[in-house]
């Protein structure tokens, strides 16, 4: 490798790297702009009038531009690794699709059950016979394979009396449009011999001949001339479902579900708002974890810090109804950050000076914080006349100002932008950040180099706490506008995934937070719009986590490349990426 370095002219290297950098910026910028345009286009169906007709459309555009900026950062920061992150997500989605498909294999079952009617239509004079089930032109109905019934009806054989020469039509049809049962009908004589059968109806029959028919799936035997006087049987049951019907139904249902998952969150402005507001919380939590994990401290304290931040900001909000918002809001921000700082400092100090395992201590402290929150809420903050456990609604001055009408997208967007910038500054541009990175890389090396590792470990956990405290403030004063039980809704731990997916890079966290929030929001709409339960979405999320863990394998295979081209510029890039991860 020595020879290669001396042979290669240094200029060519730097020129190549210059162009690579340019290309990278261009790819990043282009993807950012494309995503912004795509989101705007889907939101407003591509119509400029519709956009300008929406209140606060400028702010929507601004927020979407910020989303684009997050994409840009993602591409520029992770470079080739960005593809890997996307692949991880795509593979997880595909596996999720498979799961959805499997769970939808029963969706064709609806053709096998439902309310139905049967009728023998004839112009002939009905025969008087009280023993038979059907009379000409009288409907009779029931429900096939009704779920959760001890003995469901799976077929019917109803008798009717006919005379020789009567022209009858036998109908078996769904009761209404809600019932999708696909029927067949048979005409049998007294001995049970089959005289005629049908599995479907023609368009004409549905539209013109018989008013009662609902669709072509109904079954009709039209104009059958009875051969003799006597009792006949109308036999009907749902048709057997063909395998291809089962598969194609499952496929189309899964497609429907995934359409809801992938496009649902940007269909309408209010849905888009759900995505953005969730993303803000997740990004804050992701940042909190990314900062702490960067120092190799496996503190899971964000949950507790979030509750503490929410509680403090809630108490302040409830007790200052007359302070103008311009003063109160900054004060609440400061206070929630401080609360998080203190609640992060505790496990930090325990770890640094008493050697308490941060994983255990933070989990315990989370427990303390959530119970304390509940206690205060229950006994102090709940108005006496309230029907459920929640504080009073905050007054307008304590609520983060909304920037997009009919959503809960608030100025938190800007607070978040500042937090991201400061986190980046901290990690990459301050001596403390250097200490954090070095401790994360090799604690003993940091000790050897004279870093006060105890102080840094304590601080990094407290700083993570600040960000988590802000997330609590966002939930309390931005989204719920009151304190409620279970305010974090388990988002805190999903912050871990966001941080890991971003490879602990604070500039990538915004993207992964958006992505993850998008999947979460999409999941909600998938559940709402399609026949897929939230559990499937949870599975997709779990698969993503699994794939991230399995990425160690990818790194393993990448080591092959390493030796091959050790001193090419590409190598430096690859290695750096490895270093980030």
């Amino acid at each position: 490798m020595k020879d290669k370095t001396s042979d290669a002219p240094p200029e060519s290297n730097s020129v190549a790297s210059f162009f690579k950098k340019r290309l990278l910026l261009m790819v990043g910028g282009a993807s950012g702009i494309l995503v912004t345009l795509f989101v705007m286009n889907t939101l407003f169906d591509g119509s400029i009038e519709k956009m300008t007709g929406t209140t606060d459309w400028r702010n929507i555009l601004l927020v979407n531009a910020l989303v684009g900026a997050c994409i840009f950062l993602f591409v520029v920061e992770l470079r080739r690794q960005a593809i890997r992150v996307l692949l991880t997500v795509v593979v997880a989605l595909l596996l999720g699709f498979l799961v959805t498909f499997i769970f939808n294999l029963d969706s064709a079952d609806r053709f096998g059950r439902g309310e139905f009617r049967a009728q023998v239509v004839s112009d002939a004079e009905p025969t008087e016979n009280d023993e038979v089930d059907l009379e000409y032109n009288k409907r009779r109905g029931g429900e096939f394979n009704k779920p959760k019934v001890v003995a469901p009806v799976s077929e019917i054989a109803w008798t009717f009396a006919g005379r020789e020469g009567d022209v009858v039509s036998l109908l078996a049809y769904a009761k209404n449009r809600r019932s999708e049962v696909d029927l067949l009908v048979e005409l049998r004589d007294e001995s049970g011999a089959l005289l005629a059968a049908a599995t479907s109806a023609t368009e004409t029959q549905v539209d013109e001949t018989f008013d009662d028919l609902v669709s072509v799936k109904d079954a009709v035997i039209e104009g059958f001339q009875l051969p003799a006087d006597g009792l006949y049987t109308l036999y009907s049951r749902p048709e057997d479902i063909a395998t291809e019907t089962v598969l194609s139904e499952a496929l189309s249902q899964s497609q429907l579900a995934f359409e809801a998952l992938l496009l649902g969150p940007i269909e309408r402005v209010n849905r888009w708002g759900v995505w953005i507001q969730d993303a803000i919380t997740l990004i804050l939590l992701g940042l909190s974890f990314a900062i702490v994990f960067r120092a190799q401290q496996f503190s899971l304290g964000a949950e507790g810090q979030l509750y503490f931040g929410a509680l403090v900001s809630g108490i302040i909000a409830l007790n200052s109804p007359h302070v103008p918002g311009i003063i109160l809001i900054p004060f609440i921000i400061l206070a929630s950050g401080t609360a998080g700082f203190i609640y992060g400092l505790i496990p930090g100090a325990l770890k640094a000076y008493l050697g308490a395992n941060e994983l255990v201590s933070t989990l315990m402290l989370n427990f303390v914080a959530t119970r304390f929150f509940e206690m205060v809420l229950n006994f102090q903050l709940k108005p006496p006349d309230a029907g459920y456990v929640a504080s009073a609604k905050f007054t307008e001055n304590a609520i983060l100002p909304v920037i997009v009408d009919k959503t809960q997208v608030t100025v938190a967007v800007f607070i978040l932008a500042v937090v991201i910038f400061v986190s980046w500054l901290l990690i990459r541009r301050t001596p403390l950040g250097y200490e954090i990175r070095i401790i994360g890389s090799n604690l003993r090396f940091a000790d050897y180099g004279g870093v006060n590792t105890k102080r840094t470990i304590m601080l990094v956990m407290a700083i993570g706490g600040i960000v988590a405290g802000l997330a609590g403030m966002h939930l309390a004063n931005g989204i719920h506008r009151q304190l409620i039980l279970n305010i974090s809704f388990n988002l805190a731990f999903e912050g871990v995934v966001v941080a890991l997916l971003a490879r602990l890079n604070v500039l990538v966290v915004p993207f992964t937070g958006l992505l993850y929030a998008y999947l979460r929001a999409g999941a909600q709409f998938m559940e709402r719009d399609a026949n897929v339960s939230f559990e499937v979405v949870r599975m997709i999320q779990a698969i993503i986590i699994l794939l991230i863990t399995a990425e160690a394998l990818v790194t393993f295979f990448q080591a092959r490349q390493k030796r091959a081209d050790i001193d090419e510029e590409g190598h430096a890039v690859e290695s750096l990426e490895a270093a980030d991860g």
Binding site: T5, G433, F445, Y448, A564
Partner: protein, 513 residues
């Protein structure tokens, strides 16, 4: 007819490292065959393939002209191959005899026949002149004897071919001589020995033939009688190597480090340093010789603030430095090349640039007005990479992409560029290739000539003798001798002190301290 032969052996590790590239290697029966090469040249891999610890990607292995598939060490042992690893594979709490018969026990019913084991050990020991005490526990016996136990263990399993992996790394000179005598005995008794090392002097002394490996390839096999150390070094490195360091005479200056009655006991109360007192002067390299584990590590770590002393003091230019942590020590212009660079000396996943500022990142020009100055950091990296000849495309790549030698150069570059008054260098060339050793040695000597005081701790006695102006011997946490490094001082003489067999009278020691 070779007794062991490999043909076109390739070994590619799953991570893509091509460790053996088309190796044709043959050992004649009854010879001592040295296998030399720098770290990472692939010699250990080749031996692992023969011993069944790794499997070849392609190629054939022949034992006594029969092609064999060696799936695991058990197969190798059945073929009469024994291997003595660098790190001994012994059960510390068992006796010597128990270790030797382990897994080959003679039983009487359900009971292991220990009398038989002791008897077997004794006869084996006598036969090959490998003196051991069958009833001693492994934890109580010295390293040299442990090694003999390992060899006996292999012989007890019927080894005809013995692979010794860097056997002298842990031995003192006189123990090495004992080992060589034992090896000659073995060969006379009809055994074949493959001897892995990177110490060329030993190769010349003991082997019949030498195979040199470099960068996973076999460079050649030569008769020892027809080669020289210099020639072998050239084959190993691929270019001319200057084995000698140019050490100009300079008068030493005033005392920089003064250590007085330093004692250190670990948490379990073991006295690891006992009343250690000495001085290190300007323009001087003070080398500490000693078998590893005699307090050298603790001395370096106490002096650099990584461990608190139990009692005693250390002064840099009359200022007490102990007990205030590593940063305080560093601010007194003490630099430290740590013994284990992977644990202490570098952060593997951080960039070279970041690794080069661990002792100075918080000062100007690296931090200005509370923010890191990235340009200054990158410039510092580029400057040191150039000055210390670190082979890397730029300072942004993580240290773990570097070879061992270049990693060590990163450490040396950082420590020497901090303009220290005192450098504590522990095992500065351990696990480093010859080219880098040469560079580091020259750098240390140059700095010393320019005025630096250096405390050199090394397990490699030749290194200590080559570089030091004075040599201090440590044995069981004590200083047992201090000598000026002149013509009269021999390795053998230091060896006696290293083993605790001799001790300098206090008056004489006083003269050189």
């Amino acid at each position: 007819m070779p007794i062991v032969e490999t043909r076109s052996i390739h070994k590619i590790y799953p991570n893509g490292v091509h460790a053996n590239d088309d190796i044709d290697f043959a050992v004649e029966p009854g010879e001592i065959h040295a296998l030399v090469g720098e770290n990472g040249a692939g010699k250990s891999t080749l031996m692992k393939l023969i011993y069944g610890l790794e499997h070849a990607t392609s190629g054939q292995i022949f034992i006594r002209d029969q092609e064999v598939q060696i799936g695991n060490p058990q197969d190798a042992i059945e073929q009469g191959i024994g291997m003595v690893h660098q790190n001994f594979m012994l059960v510390d709490s068992f006796t010597v005899a128990q270790n030797i018969i382990l897994n080959r026990e003679t039983k009487q019913g359900m009971q292991i026949d220990f009398q038989q084991a002791v008897a077997d050990t004794k006869s084996l020991s006598k036969e090959y002149g490998l003196a051991v005490n069958p009833d001693a526990r492994i934890e109580d016996i010295p390293v040299g004897m442990r090694q003999r136990v390992e060899i006996l263990k292999a012989l007890y399993r019927g080894a005809e071919i013995l692979i010794l992996d860097e056997p002298t790394a842990v031995l003192t000179p006189s123990e090495t001589q004992d080992l060589f005598a034992a090896i000659r005995n073995l060969v006379e008794g009809g055994k074949t020995v493959i001897f892995i090392t990177h110490k060329l002097k030993e190769v010349i002394e003991i082997s019949d033939r030498v195979t040199v490996m470099r960068d996973a390839r076999k460079i050649g096999t030569v008769k020892t009688a027809q080669t020289s150390e210099r020639e072998l070094a050239r084959m190993m490195v691929g270019r001319e190597v200057f084995m000698q360091v140019d050490r100009p005479e300079v008068a030493r200056g005033g005392s920089v480090l003064h250590v007085a009655d330093l004692t250190y006991a670990d948490s379990s109360g073991h006295q690891l340093l006992k009343q250690v007192s000495f001085n290190v002067y300007e323009n001087e390299i003070l080398g500490i010789a000693g078998v590893e584990g005699n307090g050298q590590t603790e001395l370096a770590e106490v002096l650099t603030g990584l461990r608190p002393p139990t009692t005693g003091e250390a002064y840099i230019n009359d200022e007490q430095i102990l007990g205030r942590g590593p940063r305080s020590v560093r601010e007194h212009q003490v630099a430290h090349i740590p013994e284990d660079r992977l644990t202490n000396g570098v952060a593997l996943w951080s960039s070279i640039d970041d690794n080069l500022i661990i002792d100075r990142y918080y000062r100007e020009p690296f931090t200005r007005r509370g923010l890191l100055d990235i340009n200054a950091i990158v410039e510092n990296g580029a400057k040191l990479i150039g000055e210390f000849n670190i082979i890397a495309p730029d300072g942004a790549i993580p240290v773990n992409a570097l070879s061992g030698g270049n990693m060590q150069k990163v450490v040396v570059a950082r420590e020497l560029s901090s303009s220290p008054k005192l450098l504590i260098a522990a095992q500065p060339t351990r696990g480093v290739d010859i080219g880098a050793i040469e560079f580091i040695h020259q750098e240390l000597v140059d700095q010393r000539t320019r005025g630096l005081a250096i405390l050199l701790i090394s397990a490699d006695l030749q290194e200590v003798m080559k570089l030091s102006d004075r040599i201090m011997v440590m044995y069981e946490g004590e200083i047992v001798g201090v000598f000026p490094n002149d013509e009269s001082l021999t390795e053998e003489r230091i060896g006696y002190y290293m083993l605790g067999a001799e001790r300098q009278p206090p008056q004489e020691m006083e003269r050189y301290i």
